[in-house]
Amino acid sequence: MTSTFLPDRRSGPDVELPPPSAAFARGRARRRLLNWLTAVGFQVPALVLFIGLVLLPMLFALYAAFFRWGGFGMPSDYTGTDNFTRLFKDPVFLGDLWRCLVLVVLSLALQLPFALAMAVALNQRLRGRAVYRMLFFAPYVLSEAITGVLFSMVFAPDDGLADHVLGGIGLDGLGGEWFADPSYVMATLFLVMTWKYFGFHMMLYLAGLQSIPAELTEAALIDGANAWQRFRNVTLPLLAPTLRISVFLSVIGSIQLFDLVWVVTQGGPDHHSETMAVTMFQYGFKRYQVGYASAISVVMFGICLVFALAYQRFVLRRDLEGATTTMRGDGK
């Protein structure tokens, strides 16, 4: 895809182009260099911030993963890959990996479609639309701290709001120990997660929906398409780029999940709701085994990276190819 700012891609009245010659070839190379410089130039501020404040600490943590380090002074006790072997033998960590997968699948299957449905519903002219949007987004604004205390009270066994409500509508048997029950804690946690985060995705979709020109859906309406057909054939394809971003962020977010779990269950009961990030925090900040914690973060990073690369290759590639028609490959 060549930027349109190269002078040799002008359209309109005929412009006399110099004949192909060595000078022209040099000029072209220079223009490509200029193109590259401009492109990178736009990136400089981001690069400076990113490399300085994100990459450097990350590299340090990567380095620390190969040591046994308590956080005092500099890492000095080199242990090679010991931390990693210990990690993959730890039943708690292996459980973390499984729970991570469960969360990712649940989020993609339930949370995202729900957010999409709400976004579509709230994109129309509807009475009280602004109020609904604010209400649905409000949980995201709430800090994890209050969410934690709030829901531990909502889901308190017998006394909690959840049990009260269930009792009130006659579904007594459904209530259980919620967070205290090792078998159901993940399900309860997922409910809280959805409550808190679906507003984020809804917002993304709303912005995406609003970028879709109204004429297209109107045209489909005139052609006699019903609501579902309009959605499937017009809205969904045009919303696809946004959906792809949302899925990407959701998966990465699920892998990194920490704040909410920590405040609500601290990974309990008996590690049944622990995520990799919670384990990492335990070892890093409570047990002062920072090297081991760094190893966990390296593994988390690795998983995210593999996912991101695969996602870019197979999913986002479609965005690259047919995005807009005037974009052509280099030198064409």
Binding site: G71, F155, D181, D270
Partner: protein, 431 residues
């Protein structure tokens, strides 16, 4: 058209304002660094007394100290418990601790001492430190050198609801383990929840195992296990078995695995609202019960952890801990003076009277009015042995492993043997 222009203008205005605001204010931010100007020394004092009444009382004491020492200015930095711990971790990593800082003694203090960050105050405090209660000083003495001075001491015991006990037919608090299990069964028979436990936080559960280990294996064995990094002795396995016995009676409140300690639906609130009959907790229990729940007032009683028949420990051995202040290496003399001030009899009387803590200066016990506090104080005074909270006494990793393993035992996923094995494994790794 108007919209676009407005939004961009708004954007530019906002960024300009923010930019100016930040540069202007950052210019006046952060300049003091404990340096002295015109002879005044500024001493930083970091503590965790963020709630009343301690907050106001301590501020008042700081003013009093400044009045007595005109050339000294005390700068107080107050953080809540967990935030404090996180911040201290970061500071320790960076190698510079505050002048005076709160410490719980034991393993973490040891790590800080080993890193060369803490001042050894043995010699400078010798003249007056002997007057303090010996159990109070214990957590802060490492290798016979003193690294911090206590201001608070306490112990863990059973806090119980007298009315509920009477209702179940338990006439006097049990003094033996079998008597205790009996009492639990009687309470359950009457439909009363015998014990409240904050399963989520893990440390309340650890109290049971620690006391049982003290009572079965004995204090010396516990100390030896810590030194040798080996907890696999028979006494420790027995302790776990006793705990398992208790757990199998289902004595805890519904949903205890997810309960926190001080939240409105937690352990303290359960007892404070009369829903559970007992909790094994430290000397702060009455205050928290009244905070989180209604509080039991005169109905609240205290009895020490029972003795285990055939065990090596005795009922007068005490498990607990408190708070103290340590100094960073190279802290000014004013900081040492502050330690003396805070541990003086007058100060301690103030603390006991107004904040309800237990005295570290024996003479200050006259200021205690609350009967439950008196009962705890009596136990402390008559203590024949002392063990600091395990998750503070040991290196942090080991302490956490104890909490985790015992929680697993209570949840039913680890056996008593496995508990001792994991703790030993972690202790050995930590060398």
């Amino acid at each position: 058209m108007g919209d676009r222009a407005l939004s961009r203008r708004g954007f530019l205005a906002a960024s300009a304002a923010a930019g100016m605001g930040v540069t202007a204010l950052s210019a006046c931010g952060g300049d003091s660094d404990g340096g002295s100007s015109d002879g005044t020394t500024t001493v930083e004092w970091w503590n965790i007394s963020t709630t009343e009444p301690a907050k106001t009382v301590w501020a008042g004491l700081a003013k009093k100290f400044e009045a007595q020492n005109p050339k000294v200015k005390l700068k107080i930095v107050q953080l809540e418990n967990d935030a404090y711990k996180s911040k201290m971790t970061a500071l320790t990593a960076s190698g510079k601790l505050p002048d005076i800082f709160h410490t719980w003694g034991g393993g973490v203090l040891k790590q800080q001492v080993d890193a060369g960050l803490v001042e050894d105050v043995t010699d400078r405090t010798k003249p007056w430190v002997d007057g303090l209660l010996s159990v109070a000083k214990a957590p802060y003495i490492l290798d016979d050198r003193t690294y911090a001075i206590p201001f608070d001491i306490g112990m863990v015991g059973f806090w119980y609801n007298k009315a509920l006990f009477k209702q179940a037919g338990v006439s006097t608090p049990p003094t033996t383990w079998s008597g205790f299990l009996d009492a639990v069964k009687k309470l359950r028979a009457k439909g009363i929840t015998p014990l409240a436990l904050a399963g989520k936080e893990k440390w309340p559960g650890m109290y049971y195992w620690a006391y049982l280990a003290m009572r079965t294996a004995g204090l010396d064995a516990l100390q030896k296990a810590s030194d040798d990094k080996d907890f696999t002795g028979a006494g420790f396995v027995e302790a776990g078995q006793h705990l398992k016995e208790l757990v199998q009676l289902h004595p805890f409140q519904k949903g205890f695995l997810g309960a926190a300690y001080s939240t409105p639906t937690g352990q303290a609130a359960s007892v404070g609202n009369g829903k559970a009959a007992m909790e094994l907790m430290g000397q702060w229990a009455p205050a928290v019960e009244a905070d989180a729940g209604k509080g039991l007032g005169k109905n609240l009683g205290f009895f020490p952890f029972p003795a285990v028949e055939g065990g090596k420990g005795v009922i007068t051995e005490v498990f607990g801990g408190g708070g103290g202040h340590a100094l960073r290496k190279g802290a000014p003399q004013a900081a040492v003076d502050f330690l003396k001030f805070f541990a003086s009899e007058t100060t301690d009387i103030q603390l006991v009277k107004k904040t309800g803590v237990l005295p570290v200066v024996p003479a200050a016990e006259s200021a205690i009015t609350d009967p439950n506090t008196k009962a705890v104080q009596a136990q402390l005074k008559g203590a024949t042995g002392f063990q600091l909270f395990l998750d503070q006494a040991y290196a942090p990793a080991v302490g956490q492993e104890v909490n985790d393993s015992v929680a697993a035992l209570i949840a039913g996923s680890k056996s008593p043997e496995q508990v001792t094995q994991s703790i030993t494994k972690t202790a050995k790794e930590e060398q």
